[in-house]
Symmetry: C2
DNA sequence: TATTGTTATACTCTATAACTATA
DNA sequence: TATAGTTATAGAGTATAACAATA
């Protein structure tokens, strides 16, 4: 729990009795580690977590609109624009016009986008398995299920 | 792997088959919900997640140095300075000089700081219990333990 | 009127380099 | 020389308001 040999100033034995009841702290710290690992994993593909997530969702859900994608990613529509601009300029996705609604786009991945997706997803799976090595499959299921339930709680 | 063609633009049934293997996505979405709730909960106390976390750690670990606190919070030292400036200006904490090392500070909470801590912690516990209502105690323990293990994996 | 995508903008959080004063 | 705290700064990520085109 603590970090023994380290600094000259007191060893710092952190009393996290209160933090035990503070789930946001644990989620933030764990997410930081996951994101740091993810950033390194995605660097060879020139992707960040946001561009990777957008690419994955577009490949798996062709025809998605920007509003739907922003909603799936949990970000506001304006913030998605630059993310998709980047993917489009790199010719990984295209913004087709939606046939039924001329206001909306139908997002689709290009062949290059699907190829990058295949390689990046494989790398991410490998790295995440290493990151979660100490956590057995049953616990991983519980973890993901619990996180999903928290997300769906969505109080506002 | 992909999705059958469905509604033109509307309801959006997201295929998250790939995301299921992408723990960072679930952690980010869940953390967003927790932080949004936390932000609202702390607003009456004029605290943000970072100032709240710093206050909690200082109250529970009096005499902590800024380096130790930054380490415990998972942020860099420079970013902690403004956080502590704010808490100090509000007279919730003090920066005493460490007796053994004149470079370092020994951080301590004031009486006002401990009083705000009491009220804020109570509010946070109440709100988190509501947020985690659908998750039983055993699962909560597994969740926190799994998150801690991920944090301690710390690749870099 | 309402919605899609867009621009502009501001705020928070984060990371790095370089400085000072101590060690 | 190394460490503690600080300053300055730049980069992400996020949120809101307002607009044009379309519904």
């Amino acid at each position: 729990m603590t970090n023994p040999e380290k600094s000259p100033v007191p060893p710092a034995v952190i009393d996290d009795s209160t933090l035990r009841l503070f789930i946001g702290y644990h989620m933030k710290r764990a997410f930081n580690v996951v994101q740091a690992d993810l950033t390194q994993t995605l660097k060879p593909f020139d992707l960040r977590m946001l561009t990777y997530t957008a690419l994955v969702l577009v490949v798996d859900n062709p025809g998605l609109s920007q509003s739907q994608l922003a909603d799936a990613m949990g970000i506001e529509r304006p913030n998605l624009v630059v993310i998709l601009d980047e993917l489009e300029h790199r010719e990984l996705i295209v913004r087709d016009r939606a046939p039924t609604d001329r206001r909306a786009y139908a997002l689709k991945a290009t062949l290059a986008g699907r190829r990058l997706y295949d390689k990046a997803v494989a790398a991410v799976i490998t790295h995440e398995n290493r990151l979660l090595a100490s956590i057995d499959d049953a616990t991983r299921s519980i973890l993901i299920k619990a996180l999903s339930e928290v997300r769906e709680h969505q109080t506002t």
